[in-house]
């Protein structure tokens, strides 16, 4: 398809400071509900979640790394995203035009099979009806519908921004978007410029230039600093991470003890 795009992200973990600005921007942009007590992370909603990793070594070798984790918008090696293929009501879909995995809130029956299928825990269930503090409702984004109790939600790559950008382009009689016309809230909010967003199929976009994914090989990259989470599962995620630290790259997947620590394309 001529228009086929694959929107994705490259997150430079060497730049990420773990400030959480991406999480805050995401919640504000997408009307993500929150609880009065957010201490239990197992039932709170964080479309973008920043994990803190340690190399579990004592001082002076102790090291930490922060990994921001949005939805991976998997395409999977065989073309069926883990979550999309299992939804019984077709409430989540993979767009061949954008490569974005969508969630249709008004169709979701809340069976949570997609959450079970997602190895990244990127999908969240609305255990409660969304309630915002008084007056805060005035600050909600009018472009994103709040979700009701009993449905699943997740990162949409700020799809409403894509729609607005496409509307504008259409009025200007264009079919293509410029790179800066469609950017996610987290990418724009990152003060360290750690998140780069764009079309992984477009050689003019920074994401493509950064990792040069091999389209014929499940989007795999030979960039020495790049890796993807759980790549061995064959989920073909569209979030690439960059790190100059071997232990961080290795923390992105599961390996047998006998497997060589410096895996192909991963050594520094």
């Amino acid at each position: 398809m001529r228009d086929e795009k694959k929107y994705g992200m490259v997150i430079d973990l060497d730049k990420c400071t773990g400030c959480g600005a991406c999480m805050v921007a995401c919640m504000a942009e997408n009307n993500v509900p929150f609880k009065e007590d957010e201490s239990n992370k197992l039932d709170s909603i964080t479309w973008m979640r920043v994990y803190k990793l340690t190399n579990e070594k004592p001082f002076p070798e102790a090291d930490i790394c922060y990994i921001p984790r949005p939805c991976m918008h998997c395409e999977a090696d065989h073309g069926h995203s883990p979550c999309v293929s299992v939804c019984p009501a077709t409430a989540t879909d993979y767009s061949l035009r954008t490569g974005i995995v969508s969630q249709i809130y008004s169709r979701c029956i809340g069976c949570r099979y997609c959450m079970v299928a997602c190895p990244y825990h990127a999908r969240y269930f609305n255990w409660w009806d969304p309630v915002w503090p008084s007056d805060m409702e005035k600050y909600l984004s009018p472009n994103v519908s709040p979700r009701m109790r009993g449905v699943v939600e997740k990162c949409s790559f700020c799809f409403h921004r894509y729609q607005l950008a496409m509307d504008k382009a259409f009025l200007e009689k264009r079919r293509e978007l410029k790179e800066n016309e469609y950017q996610t809230a987290c990418a724009q909010a990152c003060p360290a410029d750690a998140i780069t967003f764009g079309d992984l199929n477009n050689p003019e976009h920074a994401v493509q230039q950064l990792v040069r994914p091999d389209r014929k090989n499940g989007g795999r990259t030979k960039h020495p600093r790049a890796f993807r989470l759980l790549e061995r599962l064959g989920t073909n995620p569209k979030i690439y991470y960059l790190s100059s630290r071997e232990w961080v790259r290795r923390a992105g997947d599961n390996y047998l003890k006998k497997e060589n620590k410096t895996l192909s394309g991963r050594s520094t």
């Binding site: 293929s85 029956i109 079970v116 990244y120 009993g150």
Partner: protein, 435 residues
Amino acid sequence: MDNALIPKEVKRCPFSQFIILLGPVVGVLLLGVFAMSLVWLKGLNQTNMNDAYGFAAWIWADLTVIALGGGAFFTGFLRYIIGKDELKNIINYAVLIGVICYSSALLILGIDIGQPLRGWFIFWHANVHSMLTEVAFCLTVYLGVLIIEFVPLIMENRQIDRVPFFHHLGHRMHEIMAVFAATGAYLSFFHQGSLGGVAGVLFGRPFAFREGVFIWPWTFFLFTWSAAAVGPCFTMLITRITEKITQKKLVKENVIQLLAKISGWMLTTYIIAKIIDTWYWAAVTAPSKGFTLMDFYSNNPLYGIWILVVEIVIFGVVPAAILIIEKGRRHPILFITAVVLAVLGVCLNRWVMVLQVMAVPVLPFEGWPMYFPSWQEIATTMIPVTYGIVFISLAYRYLPIFPQEQELNPMGQMGPGEQEKPSILSDRKLRSAET
């Protein structure tokens, strides 16, 4: 009080005693209904499920009751398709248990989804790639088939049978029952398998994922196989419990022995297949994803390798060995031990394929989340049990469930307990005979 409804030539306890005995069961059932109402009104926040445990106790209960209800389709298959005529003496009970299990499963699904009013979307916006779609379709249709199989039995109630229309309807339905049995068997082979496929297709969860044939992972076949093996065990177990409670022999031993022998061989072949599947998964599938077998069974407070040993050896090999050896299945204690172990085996297998799938961390930097159900989940999970007891009690009291009951318990010859305490029913029958 309800004598006119009780089948001829069989003895039942007094109505008052019947009500008193059922009272506590109904009490627990009402507690479950209350908990279910809370969930429907307030949402799934009434449970202890969370984003790590999208599936939990209810889905386990769902998978388990469907496997245990598998006695209906497999006994029907043996009776009507293979032609094992002796099984006509237990098929009614197998169908009754099947109706209870499958209606319970659909009820649980109705509670378990976050938007129950949108349940019909599965049929309207069906995703043909989803195993759950296949489950929903087959379950619903098969429950319909089971009800059709059960209706002729209701028609045999003494009072209903007196109405010519119902009498003939029941008779005609009996004649074409082989068609429904075949349909039921066909549907069951698929939905039992689809339930296995629910876990097996999860290529993002190496603990659950299995290779397979075409679109079907090996768990598809293992689930069907295990349900066919253990379903009849559950039917036999409930039959024995019913016999114990009623203090009567209700099914002839040759019927039980035939079913036990077939179950034994099904269980034997299943457990061989399960061992091969486990070996291949541990040696090839999991390592290809970066996991060793022990990664799935260590660093957590509950799921140790013991669970695999218990499932395969104690709950698999042992009951299979007892049931295929004639001396074993004829020995009352060994027989009951075998069917109980087999039933526990399928319960444990479904638990592992639901709860442990959720517990095993996939991201290397995540840990094992643990889960214990809330009282609302436990109370609603008790609904199938209590509702099943009430359903069976009513059916046993008012319908000729066991065709051999009269022959095995002639009214003139009371059992040991019955001689001491003649029932109100038999007294009344005596009086009416005198007049």
